[in-house]
Amino acid sequence: MSRWWDRYGFRTILAVVALTIALWVKQTQGALISEVYYFAVSPFQSQAQLTLEDRLTNARILELEQNVTELTQQNQQLKQLLNYSSSTQSTQIAAPIIGRSRDRWWNRVTLGKGRQDGVKKGDVVVGIGGVVGRITHVTPHTSKVLLISDNTSRVGAILSRNRQFGYIKGRGSSTVIMHFFEQATDIKPGDEIATSSLSKLFPPSLPLGKVKSANSKGTEIEVELSAPIDILEWVVIQPFESKFN
């Protein structure tokens, strides 16, 4: 036994140490690596992007154009029946996208704002045009977003014009499939889709996209997401307390 230890002892200890470090990286979802990457990449952020950050804090003006359709419909109904939170958000944080998912199986991005800027797990991420995803992990300076275009994401949605409820399912590209709870009849390409009040993970009345095409039976609707996720460089994080975590 001692002969084996003489020959392989050092290597065994090294392997155990390396394995411990690797398991710790896996457990924290690479928090330290995210931080190091953030500091490695920060000198490459250009000055022009900082002026863009100022412009983006006023990005709600672009969203409100699509929200108007939603709000005029809601005003016709009795608001006491809809148990939704107010649509004006208190603090919004503009965040740059510093990394994309290396693994093509999952649609995630890494943002350059973290716990120190007030980001929490469960916050909603919105890009110019519509919802992008939600925050799943937070480190002091970075955070990770799971996009709504991911295969496993489901978001409660509503067709703004005729108030039909359903949910959208991501499929790894810029279009998603919408399923309605009841047979949908009156659907035209160009109809606007927004998050519904039935959604537990997203606040209601956020724009999602527009109907691209519908199959003949009206069961599967293809929706084009209005936020161009592939070319987005800046997003806005809205604080949100979800009812389920």
């Binding site: 003489d6 090294l14 690479g30 994309r100 998912s101």
Partner: protein, 190 residues
């Protein structure tokens, strides 16, 4: 031979350790960075997989398995880890070390690129099977969707693998030479 044991922690071994740790750190940061020009159809090379192949090519099966396990854990930490990549990376490590490339294939860059190509495809297929099991998709549907991505990822990883393998190989050759010189010095002094 007590004098031999005291020299176990000398500068050479520490330098080797630092080199290995630095190579892992560089691979990890490269995985996150989006360097323009290094990608093919928006797919970046899988540096951690290249590291596993470069490490296990000339080492025993145990080395390959442990390297796969460690790199799989790190890869899980960077991306979403459900299902885990550990199994596919361990299979790659074990297969590569079983290949005993120096006996049958030679060490030049073409054969390394070849090995990386097939190992990437193998790891993607294994991961597709795990993903399909975990999310109750059919394997056929998964493969149809991601077949193109798997092949593109294999091509770009195998094209960039010599860039990583060459410095590692150089260092290993230099290390072997220095070790031989050191042991010959010892025997001479004795």
């Amino acid at each position: 031979m007590p004098r031999r044991k005291q020299r176990a922690f000398d500068l050479l071994e520490i330098a080797n350790l630092l080199f290995v740790a630095a190579s892992i750190a560089i691979c990890t940061i490269l995985m996150l960075a989006d360097i323009p020009g290094m990608e093919l159809l928006e797919v970046n090379p899988n540096w951690l997989l290249i590291w596993v192949v470069a490490w296990s090519l000339k080492r025993t099966v145990w080395h390959g398995a442990i390297a796969g396990l460690i790199m799989g854990c790190i890869y899980d930490g960077i991306t979403l880890s459900y299902p885990s990549h550990i199994f596919s990376f361990m299979v790659v490590g074990i297969l590569t070390s079983r290949l005993q490339a120096q006996k049958y294939l030679g060490e030049d860059f073409i054969s390394v690129a070849f090995i990386v190509f097939f190992m990437t495809i193998a790891s993607e297929v294994i991961y597709a099977w795990q993903y399909a099991q975990a999310h109750a998709f059919g394997l056929g549907e998964m493969l149809r969707k991601y077949r193109q991505m798997a092949i593109v990822s294999a091509i770009i990883s195998s094209l960039w693998s010599p860039a990583f393998y060459y410095p590692m190989n150089l260092w290993q050759k230099r290390l072997r030479l220095l070790r031989k010189k050191r042991s010959s010095n010892l025997t001479y002094n004795l």
